[in-house]
Subunit: 341 residues, 4 copies
């Protein structure tokens, strides 16, 4: 017994009684109150519970179902929820038939810049705008992002174009300001196992784009999603962005097999970031096509007006015209796998 | 100066004179006599040759062009040959508009078995038959293949279906017998840097399918192709089959970005083996689609009548019906990237 | 010009003038006020500064030296500081002749437990006590540590044994409470690129033990140290703890060559954690010996009274008797490389 | 039942009867006739044999013991042979108390060169001479070794110094000539899974130094040893030489934990090649010390008179004086772990 699913009408008194019962068996609980139903995750060695005891628990008031899940991730598992999860941002659905394209610069560099790119990517058919205001940079001497100022420019770009905004959160202390402006909060690869940050975003009602760590296994990645879900936030979008290998011809090795593997293991939507995956702009188009063919629910693509002058990641950014051309090339592939773009 | 391209009508005397000239400068030579033209690869530190000396060599009788190639691989480089190389096997062209599907079992297990599968994969639309008679197995106690008997069965399957045969060579001492029956000789991942084997197949006039080593960089892979080409055989097909990473959800990590990277660096055709790349049959279909979308010139797919009873690699083999369904799903994707299947 | 080293008697006015000068050239600054001297790191493209301009800056009041450092890390580089850095914690010096042994459990499980282990490891010859109160666990359902309660127990163990305490900080919001009890603050592998956390500990005057990320290159690791140093805190101890590879016989692959590589590149002391590096208690002794022979300045070893009942990492923990035996085996090796333990 | 160990006086008739019995159960056999005893490896699914049948086999004439070994490698396993294997080459024992140092150049470049180095390394205390006559080079245009001429020079160097010779075999067709001159035949990293080459050396009575493949797991490496042993040759020395990771500061990542892991899993001796492991001469000394401390039975160290002019691997070769100094530094470490050098 790992997960207790409550009835929609379960009372606080019901919950108290269940928790007491479990604690008397030396087990802890994790209560996730979702918008639709409340789930009690049981913490500790549940193999100590006999089948008889489990049956006795199953019939307690307020309980709809009691489940044993063999995988270490529970709420994120397909075993727990068979249907695909979809994340709806102002009517734009990630995880549905339509493949969503999230485009924009690596970093917001100025007000004009982000508004210009937003208009360009919208025109080319993108559904979401990406852009970093808080930037995790390898060097403390590199441009670290514009901070809240950058968030305001993103919000203005959204107002002008209607594109919801994806932007990164690096520090739990910035959560209020980022949530104020962002439509989707990105957790970057370097923070995939920043567990305190995960718990913080887990306790808010904002969609989260969770990037895979540089060398995270798929299991660890799902455990990171479980951290967020354990706090009640089920709106998670997984983002493959390449793993670290010995190969030096590309910045990372984009692991597209992660897409079908995740489709088996979890109900969460999966998007792919080919820009970081390969690190070279002229490889982005073929890998975007491959990602769509592999079953991705969306793409994260870096676009910049003048890649050669970008303050970060210029070498992997597309110019708007090239991005537009790519969008038109992706449509027949989406169609070939029964999707729209 | 790294490569001297001879005129079609260059004489043995011309060659002798050029070689003598180079040797007088302390350089060695590697003469590749292709069907169309002869190329002299210059061995040693060519930076010792001054521009004046190079000009003097350039005008020697029999010489068409003298080239400096910065990459460590010369004949395999796009700098050396800008046009795509195509390999023609009895009218079936690898590297052209048509994406070629090479299908069949991991190992030839019996005469009936290989003939049955050959008929099934042909019916489903495959163009080539694969099957191992000499099998590189991790354990000396595992089934090692039927040897020449297996090759004979492959040849019989070819006669019945018209499908040219791809089969592996593991030992230079087996080259005569393998060449006798095979249409394409496969060099497996474990032998990618078995340089003596590469030199041996390089001196024959048979198409070679060169698999990428488990942890070979793209550069090392092209150097292995260069070994073959340095002996005169230019008919090489590169085959991506996954690299080794920390991830355990898949057998290997299929590096599809290798396809567009290779398309930039080399003129040689590139095929993908999703079966070994992922190691699980239910991931083969999405990764086959992704490979086609990424620009692969062909696919190598394991098909078996009863995967659960296969003597090797059963868990990654498709049943014929499933393979047939995959073929029909690949066609619109090929079409979306301007190719046929 | 990347680093401007100020004279000990440089005034605020001197600094203001230098900053203004640099800003007029479009450059930013990072001022690190160490206990001994203040250093101005120059941010931006310093190649824009001509040699003449650099000479003019060099003679400004308050400047001792102006340096160009080719490596991306500046303050952490051997080029910047040729002498070994030593970190002195109440008279126990890390980075000197004596190899310091930091021992204790993975997690503080109770008051009695940590006091018992502290006494045992002290008796065996350890110089520092390790123990986690805030634990980064892969699963949200695993024991997450005792929090501040655990820190108090650590402090009590220190009072009883005199062993300074090393414990992990995971969240910038916990810095006050951790600093209150810890003698050395550990930044764990998963947080090596949690840049906000690095900046936070960089602005305090506490020694930092910075673990290498799972798949961090040595360069990235030094850049993480640079983040801390850029805020003024120079008391950093680097800790190799294994990297992620394809090998499954060990939990990680302990990269001991990192020790001599770091000794060339940086002046910071380097310790090794063989317990996490291999993940199996019976491999800890040979790898501890190897680490000492390779030149490590210290070891981090997990010790537990009953490893089979440990709440985390039991399989890699030594029992006190075994640890004591190991200590006696390490002494002649330390002596063989000119060190003491 | 995986292994049947025969009595020293078992007859051919006994063997025939056992083989017949096994074949009647659908199992194959692999007969290894060692100098001391003959072992029958049982090929196929031995779980089909019931306990009663196994007991019936156990009492057949000529059988000493019948064993089930859970690991995929049998003859190489500690379960099969608990005592350490030692390999004796003209009185110099690898795997005993004395740590053997194998030193010399990467490649034999000339007669004078190899004789000079042999004398120098002998003087410094080396016990064996290494040097390649057949060189596996990444590029077909690089120096490929002197071939048989180089072998002759090695033999002459042995005659002069008394140092037994270790040299590489790349091609099964060269086995006679290599065996004629070599005392230990090296199988290089690239050929670790060249199974035909393994079988070929397995059927000869020569000690084999088997290097670990670039990205071979320890299990695969032991399976490669099993290939050799399955043909009767038990004189195998395993050589760790670094694995491939994402780190670029070193040529490979030397996996010293492989030493104690192997000491648990196998009875075969283990040596370490720090020169290839790190690829930089100034890291060879600390890693040599670490290897000795970790329990290695020997070291393989590249030494060259003029590393900067070496035809291969110059950057990782030690000069003779430096090597001599290293030898003197290794002695106290060997002594600290209860060994001699």
């Amino acid at each position: 017994m790992d997960i207790i699913v409550l009835k929609p009408n379960a009372t606080e008194e019901d919950i108290r009684r269940i928790v007491k019962k479990l604690e008397s068996r030396g087990l802890g609980v994790n209560i996730s109150k979702g918008t639709e139903r409340t789930v009690i995750g049981v913490i500790g060695d549940t193999s100590k519970i006999s089948e008889e005891e489990e049956d006795a628990i199953r019939v307690m008031p307020g309980i709809e179902d009691v489940m044993r899940i063999l995988k270490p991730y529970k709420l994120a598992s397909r075993d727990f929820k068979a249907d695909d999860t979809t994340v709806d941002i102002e009517g734009k659905v990630i995880g549905g038939r339509k493949i969503q394209i999230i485009a924009g610069p690596c970093a917001v560099e100025s007000r004009t810049m982000i508004i210009n790119i937003a208009e360009k990517v919208k025109e080319a058919g993108a559904s979401f705008l990406r852009g970093g205001a808080f930037k995790p940079r390898t060097s403390p001497y590199s441009f670290q992002g514009l901070g809240e100022e950058g968030l305001k420019y993103l919000a203005e770009a959204r107002e002008r174009t209607g594109l919801p905004v994806v932007t990164e959160l690096m520090d739990p202390r910035d959560i209020e300001v980022v949530i104020k402006y962002a439509d989707i909060v990105q957790i970057g690869a370097r923070n995939m196992q920043n567990f305190r940050l995960l718990l913080e975003v887990g306790s808010r009602d904002k969609p989260i784009l969770l990037k895979r760590g540089f060398s995270a296994t798929i299991k660890e990645w799902l455990m990171a999603a479980e951290y967020i879900m354990s706090k009640g936030n089920q709106k998670i979008i997984l983002c493959e962005r390449g793993v670290r290998t010995f190969e030096t011809a590309t910045r990372n090795t984009l692991d597209l097999s992660a897409v079908p593997v995740l489709k088996q293991l979890t109900h969460l939507p999966v998007v792919v970031d080919p820009s970081h995956g390969v690190g070279k702009w002229d490889l982005v188009a073929p890998m975007s096509k491959a990602a769509v063919a592999a079953g991705a629910d969306g793409l994260l693509i870096e676009v910049h007006m003048n890649p050669e002058e970008a303050l970060s990641d210029g070498e992997q950014s597309l110019k708007p015209d090239y991005f537009k051309k790519l969008m038109s090339e992706l449509r027949p592939i989406a169609s070939a796998v029964g999707r729209d773009i």
